[in-house]
Amino acid sequence: MTFAHARRRTFTRALLATGALAAAMLCSTAHADALASIQKAGVVQVAIPQDFPPFGSLGTDLTLQGYDIDMARLVAQELGVKVELVAVTSTNRVPFLTTGKAHLVISSLGKNAERAKVIDFTQAYAPFPKSVYGPKEMAIKAPADLAGKTIGVTRGSTEDLALTKVAPASATIKRYEDNNATAQSYLTGQVQLVTLGNIVANAVNERTKLRQMDAKFAVEDTPCYIGVAKGEAALLQKLDAIIAKAKADGRLNAMSQRWMKMPLPASL
């Protein structure tokens, strides 16, 4: 064995050792019990949206308000800690979680396979529905009631696909270029009903009193989940219990009524 060779081996060992140490440190951070550390610190950091009504936005008094804000407060209350709201955007909400800048993401986060690789999801806590809307006096409760009716929808949207699937053959679907034209078609009475994302419909309802849109039933729902760092079994379990409790005692339903202007869907 030459001298140079030995030195190289020592160097390699040192490198490996450093690597192992770093890995161990990373693992220990990742495996620390987040629930325990939240309770110890007495504060939970929650990533929330600040420009995405009705989930989270600044009110006229410049305070954050919305479904996600209420949910963050509810979770903190149930955990018995204070809440620290961390404003995020839709693109950086997952990185905030993976880099430890927030304990939870409550930010209208949908579940998909790509995200499930890097974070864990609780049960669904919020609906993100697309519904059929119409005049209050029109009794529409299920797709079958659409028979013989004219319904406006935005062409090629996910609600178009969902509506096309469930609408009876005698229903006439009018497909407009964009959400604006779809809403307009209802407001001007060109169609009897419309299918829109609830967020869009609520925004329209807030801005005009021409013809109120009353939610009839959801044609599609891609609900929102709370995002948690991977491997936090205790925290995940606790959050699921909180969501289940809030569903059972009607608090989620009240939030849905307040922000989405519709009851919490039974499918949630």
Partner: protein, 236 residues
């Protein structure tokens, strides 16, 4: 990068495409007939300065020719219901097409009528022709003969322009294209097929208009002109 063409997913919607093409053609035909009628009436009023219609048609022509077809369509479909006038998407499409084409045709026909030499009118009076016969044979037919190519072009332009009625959910050929491409995401193939269909429709329309022109408008040929023709007035 080689693109793999798949026309199958487009032709699955063959009946939608055919119905769309039928809507486009029907809209154009009805629009051309009614718009043409407005154009003749307007052209006469403008050329002969029949008050007060002369002024009304002037305002009408200026307003319609100075605003986009799409805006006119939106106004009719989304604006008029606020006044309590509810019309559905095909009625709105037809109304807008007629009103739009009527304005352009008014100008085209006016140019044709103004070109009729005064001497021809005096000659027909000297021959003891009735007012209606004079209008038909001495004014309208020669006028239409002169402007028929311009009129045909305008009708083809309007046919292509009707593609915007898809914006108000009227199910024309463009609607069919947008619908199909939102379902199968085969945008290239879909628009390729629809482009070819529009082109075929335009060719067909041009041939039909040429035939109508030869058969009904230019049927009785004018004797070869010996004197130089007067200069055209206005844009044709």
């Amino acid at each position: 990068m080689a693109y793999e063409f798949q026309f199958g997913p487009v032709f699955e919607y063959g009946d939608l495409l055919l119905r769309g093409a039928g809507f486009t053609l029907g809209l154009t035909a009805a629009g051309a007939l009614l718009g043409g009628a407005i154009g003749v009436a307007g052209g006469v009023c403008r050329a002969w300065r029949i008050a007060p219609l002369h002024w009304l048609f002037k305002v009408y022509v200026e307003v319609i020719r100075g605003t986009p077809f799409l805006v006119q369509l939106m106004f009719v479909f989304f604006g008029l219901p606020s006044l309590g006038l509810h019309i559905n998407e095909w009625q709105a499409s037809l109304l807008t097409t007629v009103v739009n084409l009527g304005a352009y045709t008014t100008e085209i026909v006016r140019a044709g009528i103004q070109e009729t030499p005064k001497g021809q009118l005096e000659a027909s009076q000297a021959l003891g022709m009735g007012r209606w016969a004079m209008f038909r044979h001495v004014v309208l037919r020669p006028a239409l003969r002169k402007v028929w190519p311009a009129l045909s072009s305008q009708i083809v332009i309007v046919m292509l322009g009707t593609s915007v009625v898809s914006q108000i959910a009227a199910e024309d050929l463009t609607f069919a294209a947008n619908f199909i491409q939102s379902r199968n995401f085969r945008a290239f193939e879909t628009y390729l097929v629809v482009t070819a269909m529009y082109f075929a429709l335009a060719l067909l329309l041009r041939h039909v208009l040429n035939w109508i022109g030869r058969r009904w408008v230019v049927a009785r040929r004018a004797p070869p002109a010996t004197a130089p023709r007067p200069a055209m007035e206005g844009a044709a």
